[in-house]
Symmetry: C2
């Protein structure tokens, strides 16, 4: 039986999602926990290779135990595996999927949230969980960032918003929505797309803030057309980034 | 110049507020930071001796440097002291107060928040910050807890809701408000009073949950009248407790 899980984790204690020998990773930690639960080898496959420090509130992961492993009903899996998991990772939900389901290739889109804390001093409760930007962001700046963010919506070549040196075959993505809103002391950047290039959300967020503070003056539409990473703004740190949702049409 | 500060801290890294030799405390940490900032001894006085593990979002503390210490404008104090403070404590605000102001004796009341996380599995983002209660709390249970909580409101002898063995001269307190509400996946217990006995909020919260789950059947009004700690429910753990506000009439 193949399981599709919804997983939450704090990224600041992991060297990213993807397995690396001798490093603490999300994939490695899940593999170890499920191997203990199923008393044998399991294949753990992710939907996205989040970087070190990046969090997830709704990552999707499949787990496939070897044939003959104990049968565990999906409904009880989150609690059953909890005692094998460390404090910074939780399985929120599990369901059964067909054996040919792939959490990455079957995804039709993803949604990320980027959280900026805009207070003069950092909060002791949000260390590692937000990007602390002390300089005041006014309502007018939020409005201007939302207006610029709307230029990301649609199908574009996002080369300007990809980390230099990243490997990919295709630079075109479709951004479906991008909202910038104040939530208490924070500014939340929420972006949904069919897929993302490497560091794309962090560079989009950094660019919107650079535009708001007047450190950049070229509008987003022009930066997109230049297809040049140096035309865009800074890469926001991983701390504020959350993989929030993964969309599928077949489950 | 005497300063009145608003301070936030994560309680799980401190052995409570009050200074203890060789222990990491909030008072000790603040004293050290302000001694460095003012380059000499300072008197740090708190409004409340929160226990180990208890948090604050709005604690009030006074700082009195010795005569001749560098003069620092209150408006810049939060940022100035930030570089001497560890990550789990922040000074949010500072103002000048008269030399005879006392943050504890001049307080006319306090407000505490208690956060219960009601999800099947714990959240990796809320470890140490909530009491995780996995068994489902229905809307009907929230309504019944709010109804019981209203019986706390007014002036009562709170002996039943004080930790056994605690020392005090007076067991009467006036609870001004008590709300129980669902906030997303959490239940928030918010209580305001002229003062609190030792462990009072934690025992009130534990009792309301015990009543909701049917582990106790005596209503709050009767438990108050008995003046007997054993008549009340469990003491909720420190993790979920926040000192939220301190009220003064003279500043």
């Amino acid at each position: 039986m193949k399981y599709l899980l919804t997983v939450a984790y704090r990224g600041d204690g992991f060297c990213g999602f993807q397995f690396q020998p001798d490093r603490r990773t999300v994939q490695g930690t899940l593999t170890q926990a499920f191997s203990s639960l199923f008393e044998g080898p399991v294949a753990v496959t992710g939907c996205s290779r989040t970087d070190s420090g990046v969090h997830a509130t709704g990552a999707r992961v499949t787990v496939l135990p070897v044939p003959g492993a104990p049968a565990i009903a999906p409904a009880v899996l989150p609690l059953a595996v909890a005692r094998f998991l460390p404090e910074d990772i939780s399985v929120l939900e599990a369901r059964q999927v067909p054996d040919d389901f792939h959490p990455r290739y079957d995804a039709t889109g993803k949604e990320y949230l980027y959280r900026v804390l805009n207070t003069p001093v950092h909060s002791p409760f949000l260390r590692g969980l937000v990007w602390h930007v002390p300089k005041r962001i006014t309502d007018d700046m939020v409005t201007r960032m939302q207006s610029q963010a709307c230029q990301f919506i649609g199908t574009h070549d996002f080369t300007s918003f990809m980390a230099k040196g990243a490997q990919t075959r295709r630079y075109v993505r479709t951004v479906r929505s991008f909202t910038v809103q104040r939530v208490g002391d924070e500014i939340h950047f929420t972006v949904s797309a069919d897929g993302f290039l490497y560091n794309m959300v962090r560079i989009m967020t950094g660019t919107l803030l650079d535009l708001a503070y007047g450190r950049l003056d070229r509008p987003v539409g022009e930066i997109l057309q230049l297809r040049d990473r140096t035309a865009a703004g800074c890469t926001a740190p991983p701390d504020g980034l959350y993989l929030a949702r993964v969309f599928y049409s077949n489950v």
